[in-house]
Assembly symmetry: C2
Homo-oligomer: 199 residues x 2
DNA sequence: GTCTATATAGAGATAGAC
DNA sequence: GTCTATCTCTATATAGAC
């Protein structure tokens, strides 16, 4: 009897989808929360284990190292709908929607704000993941802005590549300001940023 | 005989300016470096002590706790020339200059990028410092943009307060991107940001 | 003012029982 | 699949010698 049914959690350890699949999902949720509150370095594997009623070795059985656990959390977020295929208008609209949706998930914002700064260190376990993430995002937004420029919808003199980096920067920077002061309106900020560069 | 001469290092422990003043300056420099490389949580007091040829207890004599050391490092940077008194044009020009100057001090950028994210946690020792810093910076830039708006030098429809927050966000966000990829031009990005909101 | 030595707590990770 | 018990390392901080 296998109680997990048709559970479909990604398995990075290659152990298949045994009974542990549900436990793995539990662990990933707890890890997301914990990393979000204290960052990667500030969180202990024991604390994550305690959050889901496990002991430290039990967790380690599923994710051999702390770094493996972090990468599993990050890879899980990669499943979010990609922006790559969309038209320029849709890409920018989706970006604003995402910011609005995230505004109700403080933990997620904390995780990415903390981690993206931590992970600038070359030896950080999530370094490659963030480098790839930023490169992809900037490339996608550069293409969107370039598309706007072709039809004259980008303000003259605005460089699509620089504007794309600035847009990503505004999203990141407003997250920190919002974490320090929840009165800050991230959606308004990002929308204003896009409006400033469009014609 | 007091070898420190007219040394003027801030003394947060209330021990006066005895021989230790030179040692304190040495410690602060090493702490800045170390915090910059590994963040506050990722740095041990022992490592900072080792960097300046001291033992851990010797350092603790000067700065009773790790948090005291961090705050002393931050307060030391408060001595940088303030923006408050300047005219709008000068404020914005100085901002771009500062970004350019910082581009040669990777350690400083790492410190602030890492810490500003870490310090969003309410119980972080530098939380109050960063909350104050952002409030001051946004207030100063809001005033500068409002001044531009009065003389019609701000693009119509741009809210000075929102634009100020976006400018601060761009500076912060570009730092992370620059840390991940030194090809990123922070000066060009910040200059473009200001140009996008001005008339 | 700086040291050695130590207390205490917590980290990540492993071995082996059940 | 999860546990107890333990290893090893490192952390912050203190006591007291010099």
């Amino acid at each position: 009897m296998r109680p997990e049914g048709d559970d479909a959690v990604a398995d990075t350890t290659g152990r298949g989808t045994g009974r542990g699949a549900a436990t793995r999902a539990l662990i990933l949720a707890a890890a997301l929360e914990a990393f979000a509150e204290s960052g990667y370095r500030g969180t202990s594997v024991r604390e994550i284990a305690a959050r889901c009623g496990l002991t430290h070795p039990a967790l380690i059985y599923h994710f051999p190292t702390k770094a493996d656990l972090l990468l599993a959390v990050l890879e899980r977020r990669d499943e979010d709908g990609p922006l790559e295929g969309l038209a320029a208008d849709r890409v920018l609209a989706r970006l604003v929607e995402t910011v609005g949706a995230n505004q109700s998930r403080r933990g997620l914002i904390e995780l990415f704000a903390t981690l993206s700064a931590e992970a600038t260190a070359a030896d950080h376990p999530a370094h490659a993941w963030f480098a790839r993430r930023y490169a992809n995002l900037v490339a996608t937004l550069t293409r969107a802005y370039a598309e706007l420029a072709e039809t004259g919808e980008l303000r003259p003199g605005v460089d699509p590549g620089v504007a794309a980096r600035r847009l990503v920067a505004v999203m990141d920077g407003l997250q920190v300001q919002w974490l320090l002061d929840p009165e800050v309106d991230m959606v308004a900020g990002v929308a204003a940023q896009i409006a400033a560069d469009r014609g």
